[in-house]
Amino acid sequence: MKRVIATAAAICVAGVVLVAQEGGGARQAPRATNAPPKPTGTTPRTPDGHPDLTGVWNGLGDNLNGVPNQIANNGIAIESASVARDLHSAQLVTVFPRLSNRPQNNEEAERAAALLRRSGSNRPIYKPEYWDMVKYNDHNANEEDPSNNCMPAGVPRAGIPSYIAQFPNYVVFIYPGQGGLIATQTMYRMIPTDGRKHTPLQELDGSYTGESIARWEGDTLVVDAWGFNANTWFDQIGGYMHGENMHVVERFHRDGNTLTWTATVEDPDYLLEPWTTTPRVALLNPNPNAMLPESQPCSERDLAHIVTKEHH
């Protein structure tokens, strides 16, 4: 029997090779993992010796040059066709091979996305008096999400900027507004790296992006921000609200053509302990002539037609 199976398998392999050659041999097997790409190339540096973060980064949170990074963003790494792991707890997650390659309909896709994005264990730990409110926010996110009505995503929800321009004494981050999955307004930040200190918190009017200052720790750009309003959530999911005393420290590390980002949130009014996001990795757009497209005007027209609680 073993010989029969081995022979049949060899014929199958030969057939696959022939078919691939017949088709030109250019087709790649679809990826079965959501692992971030391994960095390639060298890390360019500015004249002052720091890594140069300038470029168009396809780090819009969910889509990494077509790679469905969303699960890794929320903490589940699919390492192979049979192994998945929660990055925060290291707990193994059972993998179920697909029974069908039929594309999901909208309802199936929406429910799957909502579950996938919440199945990880990396959750901010709020003080108990806020547990029900966070749950309510997430449960009713279609109405309660402050960014759903074309408002800025804020920090740290905005994640990795789509474009970074680095100058000797400041960096500029641009986050184009989006419709669809993340219906938020265009946002930008101009962040000094000249060694200045924060304005005292009491003197700041709370804003969506807060007051950000940055410094280099080795090859990592550390952006320290406070002075926020309370009109944003930590993430697209979870109902993770915060107060005006929130303090966010983001870390950007470039390695070749990849940019890794994490953010640590402190909020003594709401959180029991600081919370650190699962790292996200963005790829540099390889096209040297890459430009940011115009953002689509944000015009919320869906909410009035939503009759169930399903949401991303």
Binding site: A9, R31, I76, F96, L115
Partner: protein
Amino acid sequence: MTATIRTALLLACVSAIAVPPARGQGAADRGKVLRAAADALAMGRWSDIGTQNTRLPGIDIVNTQELIASGTTDVGGRMVKADVHVALGYNPPAMRVDITPAPEGGGAAQHVIETVRETWAWNESQVGGGLVPGKGTATPAMASLRERLLRLWMLPFGVVKAAYAAGDKTVVSAEGGATVITAPLSGPLAGMSVRATLDAKNLITKVEARADNPALANLALQTEYSDYADHAEVLTDIKTPGHIVGKRDGRTVFDLTVKSWETNNPYLVFPVPPNVKAAATTSPTSR
């Protein structure tokens, strides 16, 4: 390549796949049964984002759930009418059972909140008690650790997760015309196993906990599940029981009708109060 060759190759491939292997039949059966049980509960999902370049497998998306039920339950050895609010999670394994007895003739029975997480068990005076000074208390209850964890792993989702985690130690059998999954538990529940009976739709209808160790014989519990549906307000297609009956030594210890069972991985957390962690280091069950 001619159509004839292509057809021959296809037939060879199909033949190879169709011929059952002489060995490993048990593993194949186990895999099929576990997958059927998981699919019946709708535990696996995949992402279609980026489908042109990717073909991600599905993963187990069951983590946190919250159910609200009412019925009768054993409180301090007495069966009382009660509302029961359960928050649970599998990553990390944790459960908070909040029992509010209905007022009775002789006065209200005590409101209890029984919580467990991994290797810690404690009672809360209010949800989250003991985490913030001055806002409730947490009382260690390490003697209840195993029973509370067992309740979590005896839920249908817990059984399927435990069966997958146990790999080839999980046994699938046919008994009395029904399919049965038997899986050993691990961690603080090592020495225990769960035995689940599936119905014709591959839904788990009965779970029995068995102790290989006589010292754990008091944990020989049984739970029956029926009336499966998506009982959530945020619909997920995940099937949850609408009726749960728990028994110990044949005696009913709870009989609950589910009002809602949220499965959308709601925000439920189980931080361990500092005094519980400190007490656990001296508890025999933590050694």
